[in-house]
């Protein structure tokens, strides 16, 4: 049984970097984590062979509460703030067409304030990173009871 946390986003587009930031944080706890630009083919590669896939991505809402995050297993209604035209919903659709959708797929979508050029998260989104990281770690631990950490292999 394996789990992978995939942080989707571009760290050079401010709050779009929340996914990668959480991925880095959970990796420090020994959980297998990857950073992705959301390209469907690469997402399929990233979760290949994993039983549990946790995706963390940014979303833009109107009005938004920056830093508020949502947990879902149905990504189709989530408008991703990916900096590319194809993103997580298309990856899930492609995976379904190819029978490569992971058994357990959980999406954490974080409302963002600023996806302009530049590095660094806005204060509200940065503040959410810690609780989000804890939630993701709990998600992984609950799916695999008896282990606090999943091997990074």
């Amino acid at each position: 049984m394996t789990a992978v946390v995939i942080g989707v986003g571009n760290e050079f587009r401010r709050d779009d970097g929340i996914g990668p930031a959480v991925a880095r944080a959970v990796a420090e706890s020994g959980v297998h984590a990857e950073i992705s630009d959301g390209d469907p083919a690469r997402l399929l590669e990233a979760w290949d062979g994993a039983d549990l896939v946790v995706i963390v991505d940014a979303i833009r809402c109107t009005p938004a509460v920056p830093g508020r995050w949502h947990r879902t297993t149905l990504p189709h209604s989530i408008p991703a703030a990916s900096s590319h035209g194809l993103g997580v919903p298309e990856a899930v659709e492609l995976a379904e067409a190819l029978d490569r959708r992971p058994e357990h797929l959980v999406i954490y979508a974080v409302e963002v304030a600023d996806v302009g050029f530049g590095i660094g998260l806005s204060p509200a989104v940065a503040a959410a990173a810690a609780t989000l990281t804890s939630a993701v770690l709990t998600e992984v631990a609950e799916e695999f009871p008896g282990t606090d950490k999943i091997s990074n292999s």
């Binding site: 050079f12 587009r13 779009d16 950073i35 992705s36 630009d37 390209d39 469907p40 083919a41 690469r42 399929l44 590669e45 703030a81 900096s83 590319h84 035209g85 194809l86 298309e90 659709e93 492609l94 067409a97 190819l98 029978d99 996806v115 050029f117």
Partner: protein, 431 residues
């Protein structure tokens, strides 16, 4: 005036954070009145970012311009800076660069062939619909892409925005065992690539022969990838340093992206140009695959670019396997490059075509000026000309059919707006 003779096709782009693409077509009295491809490109920001930066930074900074062809930006940046500093990277380090570039070609071409371009020929709205009906075919495409990514992971450090490239070479060079570890994957990928050529060669191709000048690199040996001299289909060529004397960029009212002319003539870069000027340089298996696919020594039908891309994937795999077979780990991961004042020029063949970088450095290695001319910018005028020709010869199609054909025509060039084109909305106005 018939009802159909005046019409406007307005293909408005989905707002994307990294750029926008739109197409506007207007016909009056059955004649094509206006075709405007509107692309907003971020690269110009990068040219400004680069001023004042250290001369070792452009490979990492410019790699961020494109998530699909970062290696192309790194390679052209390295060549230009090394040119300014009077250094030429040869031998096994150059071979490694070429191997990395092969990885990008394989990955980029496989994505375009299978998920972006093939659905046009087979009547599917997108790659996902294609996957539902032809699962094993799309799996083959994804496996090919993955093989390219494996090369980039190993040589580039990672597949997205590789971090292992530096001016003068690499930060770390793979061991012989690591490199040879790619062989099995790439042999299987070569098999898949040949099947890809066979698959796309059987598609139906709209008739279109473009008269534009073709420009691509040509080197003293091999198919052009990481170096060479610009050659034009008219038989002329010029040194890399004279690129700016021949390719003139200009503004057009309908686009913030610069258009370009080659010696004041319409031209195109990319697979068609590369193939037509270098088909004699293909490796044996790739050359045979081209013949089997019905490609002559020159190909001027942009719709057949999908076949050329498939042949180039075969070439890239053969070339990669050859480099791997003769690989010996270099003694040092890079050659020393000391800064000096002056100009440097670098051109390599990105998957979409010729990519030019020019830098001016001061004696301390600070960048005083930077110029980047990407292939999509160079091809914009040619794309508009092709759309004009297609609209003119397909007036009988309804708006939906004509829009689809226009989008397919744009995708022939694999511009960076390809993926957004699947999400475009059509607004039709009647006069």
């Amino acid at each position: 005036m018939t009802h159909r003779s005046n019409r406007t096709l307005q293909v408005a782009g989905l707002a994307r954070v990294e750029g926008e693409g739109a197409l506007h077509v207007r016909t009056v009295d059955g004649e094509v009145d206006r075709v405007e491809l509107n692309i907003y490109e971020p690269p110009r920001f990068f040219e400004a970012f680069l001023r004042g930066r250290h001369f070792r930074e452009p490979p990492d900074i410019t790699a961020r311009i494109c998530g699909i062809c970062p290696v192309a930006y790194q390679m052209s940046a390295c060549l230009a800076i090394e040119d300014a500093c009077g250094v030429r990277v040869e031998g096994p380090l150059r071979a490694l660069r070429r191997l990395l570039y092969c990885g990008e070609w394989i990955s980029s071409h496989a994505l375009h062939i299978y998920l972006l371009h093939a659905p046009d020929f087979l009547g599917f709205p997108d790659g996902i619909a294609l996957a539902r009906e032809h699962r094993s075919v799309v799996e083959r495409g994804l496996a090919l892409k993955k093989a390219g990514n494996r090369i980039m992971d190993l040589v580039g450090g990672r597949a997205i925005h590789p971090v292992n490239v530096r001016v003068g070479g690499f930060y770390r060079v793979p061991t012989t065992d690591e490199i040879r570890g790619l062989t099995t994957t790439l042999r299987q990928a070569l098999h898949d690539a040949l099947a890809t050529v066979e698959w796309v060669a059987a598609f139906d191709f709209p008739e279109l022969e473009v008269p534009h000048d073709l420009m691509a690199l040509r080197d003293v040996e091999g198919y052009p990838l990481d170096r060479g001299t610009p050659h034009i289909s008219t038989g002329r060529s010029f040194p890399v340093a004279e690129f700016g004397d021949h390719v003139a960029e200009h503004q057009v009212p309908h686009s913030t992206a610069l258009h370009a002319r080659l010696d004041d003539r319409l031209f195109l870069v990319g697979p068609l140009a590369r193939y037509s000027l270098n088909s004699d340089r293909l490796s044996p298996v790739a050359g045979e695959a081209a013949s089997m696919a019905g490609l002559g020594p020159v190909c001027r039908n942009p719709f057949r670019s999908i076949v050329v891309r498939a042949v180039e994937v075969v070439y890239a795999l053969e070339e990669a396997l050859q480099i791997i077979d003769s690989y010996e780990r270099p003694d040092a991961p890079c050659v020393e490059v000391a800064p000096r004042a002056g100009f440097g020029h670098g051109i390599t063949e990105a998957p979409r075509g010729l990519l030019y970088h020019r830098y001016e450095l001061d004696a301390a290695g600070r960048i005083l000026d930077a110029d980047i001319v990407p292939p999509t910018s160079q091809n914009q005028s040619a794309i508009e000309a092709d759309v004009t020709a297609v609209v003119r010869s397909h007036q009988h199609l309804d708006d939906h059919g004509l829009q689809s054909l226009c989008e397919q025509t744009i995708r022939n060039y694999d511009p960076c707006i390809s993926c957004s084109a699947h999400f475009l909305d059509l607004t039709r106005e009647r006069a």
